[in-house]
């Protein structure tokens, strides 16, 4: 089976930053993503308990490197200063490359 190389962008952030990130995704024409609630510890302390608004969320987006770099740049520029966010890239392979353009 032929596999195609694409990138996976994983963003872990406070739940209240989710809306802003999804707006950035749709601005760059990315419609597919997966998100789930998570807990963890970091520079802003243990997060995930208490109010729903203080939970953390993890968003995974698979797309081309070029598009994801634009997205990451925009997140870094507008959201890094005000929200608890980390993000990283990884290499993944997919079967149907046309789904992730």
């Amino acid at each position: 089976m032929k596999l195609f190389d694409v990138k996976l962008l994983t963003v872990t952030c406070e739940i209240l930053a989710q809306k802003a990130i999804l707006e950035i995704l749709s601005k760059h024409g990315i419609t597919g993503y997966t998100s789930y609630e998570v807990e963890g510890n970091g520079s802003k302390g243990i997060r995930g308990h208490g109010f729903k608004n203080e939970k953390n969320i993890k968003i995974e987006i698979v797309s081309t490197e070029e598009k994801l770099k634009d997205v990451a740049e925009e997140i870094a520029r507008y959201l890094f200063s005000d929200f608890a966010i980390i993000l990283y890239f990884s290499d993944v392979q997919v079967i149907r490359s046309e789904k992730f353009i």
Binding site: E14, L16, K19, H49, F51, N53, R77, Y78, L79, F83
Partner: protein
């Protein structure tokens, strides 16, 4: 009723505070606080902590709607407009205090100012159960005032923050006019920090709190006492018990934040106690002057005194993301909320009893109570 009030006023404020601490609602809050401090693994299931605020809003909405059906709401307009006016004035006043005396930056000042100008539905529920405990009624339309007040002070704060950001853009434009190349990019960045006011307005009006609250007021008004009978076991019988459980959860969250209080600083802690006291007592006086009952004046004062800690983070994190949420959540939940329900509520009740002249010994505000 007359005899009971007379008895009550004979207790001094301290006695009332002591009695208030020994109510189940406050004791459960303290239990949560202790559990969090000794690092117990006690934790509310997520679904319940999301469900309880909805239940409480529905219960106070129904209660308000029923009362409005029985007593009418012709007299609602003036107290409501007064509450909105006071809330706006208080928000501006908080901003000046925080900015000038507290030396907070613009964003933190506006966020804190609106947190303390806004109302707390949980505090309101505790107030209702406190009055129920004292066997004192309050005007039902105050629930409608609660719903209307919810977005008011946020909208003002966001509007003023936007204004301040616009000013910054203008001054940046001036200083950058020589360097045309970078101009647009930097302005775009500053522009991003402005928030769409109509978006915030729409979000807070269609938000779950307002929808449940207003919807329940309408349902309560429509069904009347007879229709309410069939659901009263859930919305009336369980009310105080549900608050007790919810306050256990609030106690846990507040306890986890106690360490952060050191970080918010002495100024903000003093602010979080003095401002509610000041606003609350003014609220009691104004409400009495407007002709509200003893219980109504306490609830009106509580509306003015309370700070928002569930709605505020959700709204402000989007609208003023530059402000530090640890400041406004910690001070509102960790300091003001316990102070309001344990100490200020009995104080306001005593003040309201005095200005309503139930004991007949103090005549200072006698003329306020003429037609009561």
């Amino acid at each position: 009723m007359e005899v009971k009030s007379n008895l009550l006023i004979q207790m001094d404020i301290l006695g009332l505070i002591q009695a208030n601490i020994l109510t189940p609602v406050v004791l459960f809050f303290l239990l949560g606080l202790v559990a969090a401090r000794i690092k117990s693994d006690l934790k509310m299931p997520d679904a319940i902590s999301e469900f309880l605020p909805i239940y409480l809003l529905a219960a106070i909405g129904l209660h308000g709607g029923l009362e409005m059906r029985n007593t009418g709401f012709d007299s609602m307009l003036i107290p409501m407009l007064t509450a909105i006016g006071l809330s706006l004035v208080f928000t501006l006043n908080h901003y000046q205090i925080l900015r000038r005396l507290g030396k907070f930056n613009i964003f933190d000042s506006y966020a804190l100012a609106s947190t303390y100008g806004a109302v707390g539905a949980v505090t309101f529920s505790v107030g209702l159960s406190f009055l129920k405990n004292q066997d004192v009624a309050s005007e039902g339309y105050l629930t409608a005032v609660l719903a209307v007040l919810e977005p008011v002070s946020f909208i003002l704060a966001i509007f003023l923050t936007n204004l301040a950001v616009s000013k910054q853009i203008k001054s940046k434009k001036k200083s950058l006019s020589s360097d045309l190349g970078n101009n647009e990019k930097i302005l775009g960045m500053v522009d991003q920090s402005k928030t769409n006011l109509s978006g915030v307005l729409r979000e807070s009006i269609t938000g779950k709190a307002i929808i449940v609250l207003l919807g329940s007021i309408i349902i309560g008004y429509a069904i009347g006492d007879k229709g309410f009978e069939s659901i009263s076991i859930v919305f009336d019988g369980l009310f105080t018990g549900a608050i007790a459980i919810f306050l256990l959860e609030m106690g846990i969250i507040a306890g986890q934040r106690l360490d952060d209080i050191k970080k918010v600083g002495v100024f903000l802690v003093i602010f979080s106690i003095l401002i509610p006291t000041f606003n609350g007592i003014i609220g009691v006086f104004v409400a009495t002057a407007l002709g509200l009952s003893l219980g109504g004046a306490v609830m009106f004062g509580l509306l003015m005194a309370s700070a928002s800690f569930i709605a505020a983070p959700a709204v402000l994190r989007h609208a003023i993301p530059q402000a530090k949420p640890s400041l406004y959540i910690t001070s509102a939940l960790g300091v003001t909320f316990p102070y309001n329900i344990i100490i200020l509520l009995p104080i306001m009740f005593s003040v309201s009893s005095i200005v309503h002249n139930v004991d007949g010994s103090i005549n200072l505000f006698n003329y306020f109570g003429i037609d009561l």
